[in-house]
Symmetry: C2
Subunit: 218 residues, 2 copies
């Protein structure tokens, strides 16, 4: 299975690409925005391609070409304006969904945000970001892809604990980026996690138990 | 038929409310954001209600209560940031759609923007606005409502010419706000204009001919 990681230079993306690179069952393509990022991955022996989420669907198709699965873990970031929230976190994500459909990728995993599906729980200071993620997730759910939507809580740089919890509506909390990457990695091949959307936090279950819990969600 | 006009204090909204008020077949509710706007409509004998598009769906339902039809002609305006583009033009519009469904309004007319359905034609300096309108329109099309999506070109304050053109993909152009209001007014009751989305410009046809042209769209 060839996996394209959109936002490979983000911290979740880096963990995920490294796991995929070290795994015999997967090929990975690190999709990044800048030439120096591409070169950096290539120096580590990882196939890397350039893509601009503000560009055309055609260009995104070129970047995804040959991928069986796509993981979207890109974000416009806290340092940019809400124009980029609309154009990257929403429209960029949806263009990636369209590109994945067009090239025949079957699997799509979206990194969303805790309770993006539920306006009542959107953090006041992050309303535009939550709205963007909400509508991107909705568009993905309407696509023809085998989607999974992972909605992590506050992201930390702590090392993976290996202990998480998933659920349709969890209390607020946090989770290390490395644990998120582990969950994404394990979801890719795990039959029964398609067409599931869930919050993800640090918790008491190992990842294998959490995959089972995902499958039991509505 | 009772028609709720969201954004009644905008220039298109004002023309439309006045037409509805002068017409025996309709009752109108002017939905506005500020108390002074509400009072101003009431002084003209128009029923007016307050609603905040950044508020809850519940509050919007209260504002729409009893309406058979909803016309959405609100906008965050050029003077606000892209946070409001996301929260008003997109999420506010979708919350209005949800509220209309919840109260059992059957008809919904959206004032969109020329070619909002087609990324290739989005004006570079207005990309966030176009993205917001695009996804709001898509959500409306997925609703259970009898929708019509009107996508006017550049809006002018010229008096109505009575001459317009509609089409799935028109060349760029302009159209007086008063002509747009006339088209909205006439669409409300015209059977066969439901589930149609079209560009609207100044043109060579009278409104009656344009209604026919709408019905012939895919």
């Amino acid at each position: 299975m060839k996996v394209a990681v959109i936002g490979a230079n983000g911290k979740i993306g880096q963990h995920l690409v490294e796991q995929l690179q070290n795994d015999d069952k997967h090929k990975v393509v690190a999709v990044v925005r800048k030439q120096e990022q591409k070169q950096s991955w290539e120096e580590k022996g990882v196939e890397a391609r350039l893509a601009d989420l503000e560009g055309s669907v055609d260009d995104l198709q070129t970047a995804l070409n040959g991928a069986d699965a796509v993981v979207f873990t890109a974000g416009s970031g806290a340092g940019t304006g809400d124009d980029k929230t609309l154009l990257v976190d929403l429209d960029g994500a949806v263009k990636t969904v369209e590109a994945a459909e067009n090239i025949g990728a079957k699997r799509f995993i979206m990194v969303s945000a805790w309770q993006a599906n539920n306006r009542e729980n959107w953090a006041e200071q992050l309303l535009p970001y939550y709205a963007a993620k909400h509508y991107a997730d909705k568009e993905l759910m309407l696509s023809s892809l085998n989607w999974t939507i992972v909605r992590p809580g506050a992201l930390t740089d702590d090392p993976a604990s290996g202990k998480v919890v998933v659920g349709e509506s969890l209390a607020p909390g946090s989770v290390p980026r490395e644990d998120v990457a582990n969950v994404l990695f394990r979801c890719l091949d795990e039959s029964g996690t398609e067409h599931k959307a869930f919050d993800l936090m640090s918790g008491d279950s190992d990842v294998q138990q959490s995959l089972q819990a995902m499958k039991e969600l509505a």
